[in-house]
């Protein structure tokens, strides 16, 4: 398989790589370069300041808070979302009772209905979702507290986004809500393709559903789970967490910095405070954190591929 190989490689890579280098890599390199300047973002003048921005970042309390919250997002969100999605997908595809004459394994009743419905939030822009939930969390007349009052829990009226100890979890719940459906569909696809005789064999061994899940489903689905994990973590560190925090929270980023995440801080420094250079410095930190996250997940998740 050697002849013409390199011509082929270059031919296939040139266009995607060129486009990517031009529109993504090059602007990013420029903006990393700005992190060594005092660029404000509002005028073409700036000068080099060496590592000043980086030194400042290390002393910046809000930066550390935002880093903490971002890490929490990257750890908790994928775990919760993917566990829920695996559970639902397993129920939908394998969880059904066996019926006489039916296939050996089957989903619960109404599984195709669930598969359609669960995907709904995924087709909505995250900004829309955030607006919807900001409305639902309204402690005075919002849907959630009204519902609580309606079922006789009038004394339980949390402040939700107004409470520093709840706000971050409220935000995460919204992200879980909006992403679980996608993973359910993705995992369902993977599960449906696992050969039925594997299950039969397990069942013959007397395995119940829980152990079937851990012995068969999860290992065979591991690749998909891992990709999903990285994808979700990156979303949680970046784009998605920005939209929800920016739209829903007090301040935004509050109350009392309880929901500040790195990407929000980048935005505020660049677009509110006229400190674009410092913003790119935090952006570089975010880049490092994300790459570390991806590397750790890939490494931890590395294991023998299963054949069947």
């Amino acid at each position: 398989m050697q002849h013409g190989k390199y011509r082929f490689i270059v031919g296939f890579l040139a266009l995607p790589l060129g486009l990517y280098a031009l529109f993504v890599v090059w602007p990013f390199i420029q903006s990393i370069y700005y992190s060594f300047t005092d660029w404000t973002g509002l005028s073409p003048e700036f000068k080099m300041v060496g590592f000043d921005n980086y030194k400042r970042m290390l002393d910046d309390e809000i930066f550390w808070k935002s880093l903490q919250h971002s890490l929490l997002f990257a750890l908790v969100l994928p775990v919760v979302t993917i566990s829920l999605a695996l559970f639902f997908a397993f129920m939908i595809n394998v969880g059904g009772r066996r019926r006489r004459g039916g296939p050996v394994i089957s989903g619960v009743r109404g599984s195709s209905f669930y598969k359609i419905v669960y995907f709904f939030p995924q087709v909505l822009s995250i900004a829309i979702v955030a607006l919807l939930f900001a409305f639902a969390y309204n402690p005075d007349s919002g849907a959630i507290n009204s519902l609580l009052r309606g079922i006789g829990l009038g004394s339980v009226q949390p402040l939700w986004l107004g409470d520093p100890s709840l706000a971050l979890w409220c935000v995460m719940a919204v992200l879980v809500w909006s992403t679980v459906g996608f993973f359910v569909v993705l995992f369902s696809a993977g599960m449906a393709s696992i050969p039925a005789d594997l299950y039969e064999a397990a069942l013959l061994d007397g395995a119940n559903r829980v152990s079937t899940f851990f012995r068969i489903t999860l290992p065979l689905l591991w690749d998909t789970v891992q990709s999903g994990w990285v994808y979700m973590g990156i979303l949680a560190l970046g784009a998605e967490s920005f939209a929800v925090v920016q739209i829903m929270t007090t301040g935004p980023g509050g109350p009392d910095y309880s929901t500040t995440v790195m990407v929000l801080y980048v935005y505020q420094k660049a677009f509110r405070d006229g400190q674009a250079a410092y913003a790119t410095t935090i952006g570089v930190a975010l880049l490092v954190v994300t790459l570390l996250f991806a590397a750790v997940v890939m490494r931890l998740g590395r294991r023998e591929r299963l054949e069947y």
Partner: protein
């Protein structure tokens, strides 16, 4: 291999028949009971989640027909009458019809380009060993993690210098570039899982590398393309930062720009009902498209896992 259909008529299930099939070895009654508890619990969870997903959406639809003050005073009550004027206001203020068309053009073009270029790069990175492979791979992966907003100013210059500012095709090229990292990441993993034997056989038969790719590998990768296509469709459909900066011409605005306009005006004018009407308007076609095509989507994904 479809194992998901459950609509087949189910003969009356008695506990006995279940246990008979369920426990082919010897069936302790305890295990059966445990199964039932599990069943009720997990079924309950499924129903609950479906309810949690549907409720907010139905609520948004209902709210789009209410007037502003009743949205707040009685969020769960049905509208006193159907306030269609909310919809009219959102439609005219946000020029939804034009924005839809623009969005379809931009997303359609970008999607095709992303899949074509993404699969080419991913195939090469997954199946060929050459120096710089890892470097290029990580260069692509790295792009997933840097906040787009920081690249906006330099990106503006690049696009401007090429004369692509405020053009649909310029926007398409930028969308493709920013969709490549995830596409390459996903498809590289996918191509690695495809068996090599078929391609090798074709190659031995004298097919060129590119013919092997287009005629053998690409059709085999169709399910992966569908999955990543859905990811990208959703991302590009909802993309908002890039058009804000690169596409300021009011006639070429995309849907998200119109929606953010609506959403921001909510913050200044308190026009909640108009906002909800706009949201629902933007949501329904996508939902409808998903419901119509969900069979293909799910089948595509399923077949993907099947290889």
């Amino acid at each position: 291999m479809k194992t998901t259909e459950t609509s087949a008529p189910v003969p009356a299930e008695s506990g006995a028949s279940v246990s008979k099939v369920d426990m082919p070895t010897d069936a302790p009654a305890k295990q059966k009971k445990e199964g039932n508890v599990l069943n009720v619990f997990s079924h309950g969870m499924l129903v609950l989640w479906a309810f949690m997903v549907v409720m907010p959406l139905l609520w948004a639809v209902m709210t789009s027909f209410k007037d502003d003050s009743s949205i707040f005073s009685s969020p769960w009550a049905l509208p006193d009458k159907l306030h269609f004027e909310n919809w009219a206001r959102a439609w005219t203020d946000a020029n939804m019809s034009d924005y839809f068309l623009n969005t379809i053009l931009v997303v359609g073009g970008s999607l095709i380009g992303t899949l074509a270029l993404g699969s080419m790069a991913a195939y090469v990175l997954a199946r060929f060993d050459f120096p710089g492979n890892r470097f290029i791979y990580f260069l692509f992966i790295g792009g997933m993690s840097f906040p787009i907003m920081l690249a906006l100013v330099p990106l503006f210059y690049v696009v401007n210098n090429m004369g692509l500012l405020n053009t649909i095709h310029g926007l398409i090229l930028v969308y493709i570039a920013y969709s490549l990292p995830f596409t390459v990441f996903f498809l590289t993993a996918f191509f690695r899982t495809l068996p090599t034997s078929v391609a090798e056989a074709a190659f031995v038969d004298g097919a060129s590398h590119s013919r092997t790719f287009f005629q053998i590998m690409l059709p085999m990768a169709k399910p992966g393309l569908i999955s990543v296509g859905i990811f990208n469709f959703l991302g590009q459909w909802n993309q908002y930062m890039l058009p804000t900066v690169l596409n300021t011409d009011p006639d070429k605005r995309v849907l998200t720009q119109g929606l953010v306009q609506l959403a921001a005006s909510q913050g200044y004018k308190g026009d909640w009902s108009g906002l909800f009407a706009g949201l629902v308007m933007a949501m329904l076609p996508v939902l409808a498209a998903y419901i119509v095509f969900q069979r293909q989507v799910v089948q595509g994904l399923t077949a993907g896992a099947l290889k």
